[in-house]
Symmetry: C2
Amino acid sequence: MSRADRFLRALRGEPVDTTPIWIMRQAGRYLPEYRATRERAGDFLTLCKTPELACEVTMQPIERLGVDAAILFSDILIPIEKMGVPLTFAEGEGPRLEPVRSDAGIALLRVPDVEAELPYVLEGIRLVRRALDGKVPLIGFAGAPFTLLTYVVEGQTGKAFTETKKLLFGAPASAHRLLRKITDTTIAYLSAQIRAGAQVVQLFDSWVGQLAPEDFREFAAPYVKECIDRLKPLGAPIIYFANDGASLLKDAATLGADALGVDWRVPLDEARARTGGQVTLQGNLDPCVLFAPIPVIERRAADVLARAGRDRHVFNLGHGIQPPTPPEHAEALVEIVHRLGKR
Amino acid sequence: MSRADRFLRALRGEPVDTTPIWIMRQAGRYLPEYRATRERAGDFLTLCKTPELACEVTMQPIERLGVDAAILFSDILIPIEKMGVPLTFAEGEGPRLEPVRSDAGIALLRVPDVEAELPYVLEGIRLVRRALDGKVPLIGFAGAPFTLLTYVVEGQTGKAFTETKKLLFGAPASAHRLLRKITDTTIAYLSAQIRAGAQVVQLFDSWVGQLAPEDFREFAAPYVKECIDRLKPLGAPIIYFANDGASLLKDAATLGADALGVDWRVPLDEARARTGGQVTLQGNLDPCVLFAPIPVIERRAADVLARAGRDRHVFNLGHGIQPPTPPEHAEALVEIVHRLGKR
């Protein structure tokens, strides 16, 4: 047992030498070397679409932090652009898309040919696998269908999600048509990532916490389940992260994922009680705890480890690491988890 | 039993003729008559600070919707300005404050003399009580201490709440000093509202859902409890709304509030199970369900009523009514709740 396999073993519920850890957005703005590469790239989308640069930033935290998994640097909206929704990132403003809300607009969207239209993502995966050389596994990822729908419909990161909910509650058949196309795209996209070398995939449902459980069961869960059912035969473990999903955890545990991401709002012992114990839990330190002095980080990490128990746990933050985080605090967290998690 | 007392009776756990309902932000932008008064006022803060205008918009939904309570039109940041934090509202941008993050800045904040410095709020309450003439009770309100802290520290509506959490996790003693002053202000502010005629008060903890339960217990719950303990002797029932607080409900139920607001994420039967049944629950239809056709609204409202059970329930949305809501859908909701809720 070693660094190379503890993440995969924890996902499969097998014994590990210590608790594996990776960090959402571990390749990101809190790292000066990331900011340097980003500067060279010029803009965010160029960074995502240039395999050499994406590989470079993906690799940056691997040695520096000592994490047990790499995750391809990319953005969940990358495949959406190829469905026919023009996408830009204004500096410091987040994504802007031309919103699609009408049946006519939805009818025009298409399921892209991933190999032909998103070759840079697959090439990025191949480059990272080569660079990793078996050191740690590589995670591929996609947005979950409901979350991608919010971007398509809102045209940006939602606030009150009124356009999304106008569609869901006012024209549910249209919402389902849109979710159908997004789901087909997501399945094709993740299948191609696995074929290119992604050893694990994570579905990020960043905005699903906006849904009441009843609406989760109608507009989110069936599509996540379909992704999982279709990807399972390819053999890569699947992680589903329903952000802000305290009320959705029990349902989420029935969708067939190998692991569930849990944000910092639900203590992992409670999450374990609600999810039954047959699924690995991934999380869940509040990312902002990394602003605290290292002894506080250690106390809080120890609490997460104690609540998670020894089996079926992958340590992570409960959300992406924040740009103002001191990199040495992220390094300290990895050291702490490996030390305290030792079996 | 009648419209005049069913809200207060439900808060006290007494039998009612039908389920009472009011709607968060019932005096708001979805109403053309509100937009007209707002236009006349010129800007948002003037509307809040002019008792005659605040009274006018407070009264607008009372007859139109047939709700069972009025809530004074104001903003949770009004008392913060008088603590010494300059406040503006840029059109369509939300509040902007001069952020206070340092010990020196916190030391300069003061607890305002409510009668002398916020007379327009108290005069607004007196005007509304006169205009209501006993038709329905009047709710006063304040932001809960943690939520007000986020505005003081962020200087605006938070997104990732990184400045807030830098303070909480990096300088907890400073956070507690700030919470101390905000709590003293909130107690003075709500006491004065009750003395001026508010018959019920609600504490809005809009951003408390950003906290893990452990941090809720340190930085939010004790101050809410202190507000409740100090206000209880004045006799007005107290409602505590911990927005996005699925994981906090159980703790929130121990703070002594007569009622807990519940957002739409937690079905009320689950909320009831977690809160024990000795507290009234207020909520919790997703506000965006009001975008749907009326038969859908009826089906969803019936579900909320069924889950809530017959006792200790005040119907409300799970969050403020959204500006794009058709007013006639809000009217329909009130009619539906009164009809289906009939004992």
